[in-house]
Symmetry: D2
Subunit: 301 residues, 4 copies
């Protein structure tokens, strides 16, 4: 049977940077220290295509995803990121004409959260992983890996809190009493989604649960599924005692990373995107930044 | 050329309730009292199909939408709802085998909003319209129409406000001073999306701007695109002086309708869905209800 | 601590049909005959609210979901539908003021598919379940349950195939040769998503895998993740030998149900929605219908 | 009133790359040679933030968008891209502490399409624009601009067509007759979405309608809203006479650009993403590439 993909292109004999499949849904079983868990993952995989070849053999991508991912029901992988790395390297083996292979994965991730241990339940977070395998001149394969974790928490606006205090003090003069100087004052608060991405140097590993904790620690407060009457007030008070712009979430998260990830190398890339779904506006507020752990350490000293 | 649609079905000679097209994007020009405005609308239209016919002639739907909607650039229509009614009636004319025709439309709608006139800007709302035309036994056509308007505003939780006051009073005894009894206290607040739908009896019209105002009046506060420093505090204070559960938004909206729409008939159907995107949870809170203006009036007296 | 929810409403003392939470993401472990599998589920749960009560105690919903669903990691449930039924009944127990409770759930579902056994892999489908528990006058609880399964397959248009044959025969007269009368002819083909819902009478169970097979059997062809060169042609030929409008998918599916589900009662409700994402249009084509197994059986005889 | 944004950051005195608002919906009136049209645009705007400042003054962003965009109802702009450029430059003026400002915009765009002039109607496309203004050392502002256009069309797979011909010829030997050598043969076809982006050197302008035509010219066939019986066959035949992988769409589009945009400078950046929503798979197939017009011209000679 004729192999149309291996034929020469009709016209426009250009090499192409990326050809692949996207939106391949798969259950991936990951072995955690304490339990096996199933991630529902959306995978995208692609390789480059030389100028001499009409098409990429995409059925190999589907076969590979089935082999690596379906099999984890029997033999779990270590992490979403390790699955992506395995797939990226194997893509290069199965597309001998390719120089680099890219894998991206996105998954819901459930972790226990609770304002007390008795009120813990599984809450939803997002994980993302990317792996790019590049064929070196000498046939070796170089791997670039990234892992990201995203948590929804809460922010309380520090600016409206200050101006509300000014206005309220005119209406309620007693508010000026020194004993009320630290009274939390009304402001607007909202859902905040913050994603922390690490570009991992070779040999470096990181625990996504630590990344999620770093994110939640930088928001005005984490949020919880189960909150009984008094608990709601506790979360509200915590958020209002740590009022933050997206800029504050960003800086507090970045500033916390050197202490939270002390053994990761300086070359570790750091990317953060934080979005507050403002309650007083119909639009969102956002901040994004890219740096390295080394720069953050230099800045901290 | 053979008309495959008009042939008999292969097997399963059942009549079908709805066959049509969905997701047809169109710009619709609407003439408002003060200006013409362009809505970007997603239309879905469908008719029933008799058991004797293999297929519905769907190209007529696309032709009809083009004729009615594209032409509004030259000759604007009165409203989204009137466009839907025209299309529903004309669907019956063009599908002579059909007994009923249904049109649904969804559009972004921009209206001026501002905390002061000087700070007004165009903000985004959603409109929805439905029209069903039914062929009566005597050849007459009966029309059922619905119009919906949705606004994003803000809610502040009344429960966490009460418990936060209790907790704060233990920490700040001065809070118990009678002069601070009405001091707005911290709670969680969030985006609230509320949609009001009217099922319109024949001959009844309604102004969507009035519907949006009714919705915004029932939330803890409307929200605004442009808020300078002190304005944010004003919105925050307004919201915290009107703390509301979704249940309160729902009841306050329903209770307000008799006075706000005094001339609409008792038979007017009323449907409301309200959703609060909780800042202290990762999930949403919602309430829905269906009644009539007549029932609301009976209840109000 | 004051229970604000249990207080009387401020104004608008109306009973409300539904108050609840929506978009609660959870992993649900289901025990299948051959394996345990983890569904990533989005739950919505709600109860009605009497006119005398300001708010619904929503924290009970979150607690209940945590208890029932999180626990399935240790003790799997039988099905998505049985989890919904359990939750609906327990909602009534925990909201003693409620008369009915509604649970809706949506999940990705992975099942093995392959054009041959050797090329099988896990492919993605969607499941939906609804359960409503109503408190009877005598304190008994009546349960209404629905289960839905949705599969993506392929349709090939029968109309364009006929007209393409006419046009091609003018250009290629040999096509009129009787030996080519059954040659599959080019037409447009596209993704088709079809959802089959059963409203289940009390005591009736159904296997979702059978429902998915019924849906895939009614499309022009199922689709597969792994297709080697010759396999693609086989799927293409199968689809073009079974060209179908959405109307045909609908009728063929409905007509097949009596034989495929012979033991389910006549009172079983049947709802079908089928959508073809047309390749020759930018919009979709759709059909929807609602009937009962009894009506379909009466029609078949 | 205290300006909290202008205060020093609490900790983590880092400069931030981007702080802004996202998802600001606005109607933008654009004056085309033949008519004024209203785009419904989603804007995102952001500036960098120096390490000395706690927050970005985001209300200026909302004010600016209102001034520039709302005003186009009275005084239309030339294009989506020119509106973005104006906003980017003005952002720098209003955030004197910022070194660069970024604007992104996405809009539905309606253009007349038809298989004949008599069957023309408004069909939906997508436009995207980006503008980044950078403050130079000498106070001058450098502007980087990009404009993108995306069209949905149709692809027919060249590989399955070849293998289907082989299989069908075994079943229908007459197919081997030389007079049928060019008979279009069944294959799978699907929706294809292709986006062409130009990174525009200073002073360079481009017409989005030409970009959309280039995209549609590279797909197997454009698609149309209104297709009467014979028209469907014409589109089907056109697509099957131009069978294309995403790789072919990509290369044919890239190869066509030098001739279609002869006056644009070599330095013009070119980015293309093409996605085919495969009818025989549940996942999509995609290709992406980045180059310059200069490279494409060098390659073409």
């Amino acid at each position: 049977m004729k192999d149309v993909h291996a034929m020469a292109p009709d016209h426009g004999r250009l090499e192409l940077h990326r050809v692949g499949v996207t939106g391949v849904q798969k259950p991936l079983v990951v072995q955690r220290p304490d339990r096996a868990l199933t991630l529902t993952v959306s995978f995208s995989v692609a390789v480059d295509l030389p100028s001499t070849r009409k098409g990429s053999d995409l059925s190999r991508n589907a076969e590979l995803l089935a082999e690596v991912v379906d099999w984890t029901a029997q033999k779990p992988v270590e992490s979403l990121e390790s699955a992506c790395s395995t797939i990226a390297k194997e893509l290069l083996a199965r597309h001998p004409y390719a120089r680099d292979a890219e894998v991206r994965a996105e998954a819901l991730y459930f972790a226990l959260r609770g304002i007390t241990v008795a009120k813990q339940s599984l809450e939803d977070f997002h994980l993302f992983a990317e792996a790019t395998a590049r064929r070196g001149a000498d046939g070796t394969v170089v791997l670039e890996r990234a892992i990201a974790a995203e948590a929804v928490g809460m922010t309380a606006c520090p600016c409206a809190m200050v101006t509300a205090r000014e206005k309220l003090t005119r209406e309620f003069p007693l508010l000026a009493d020194p004993s009320l100087a630290t009274l939390p004052i009304v402001t607007h608060n909202q859902r905040n989604r913050t994603r922390l991405t690490f570009d991992l140097p070779e040999g470096t590993e990181v625990e996504v649960d630590r990344m999620l904790e770093a994110v939640e620690g930088a928001q005005s407060s984490p949020t919880y599924a189960i909150l009984k009457r008094g608990d709601e007030a506790d979360v509200v008070l915590r958020a209002h005692r740590h009022p933050k712009f997206v800029e504050d979430v960003m800086r507090d998260l970045l500033a916390s990373l050197p202490a939270q990830f002390p053994t990761m190398p300086d070359a570790t890339g750091v990317r953060v995107v934080t979005v507050s779904e403002e309650s007083i506006h119909k639009y969102d507020v956002t901040s994004s930044h890219r740096t390295t752990l080394g720069e953050l350490r230099a800045h901290a000293t």
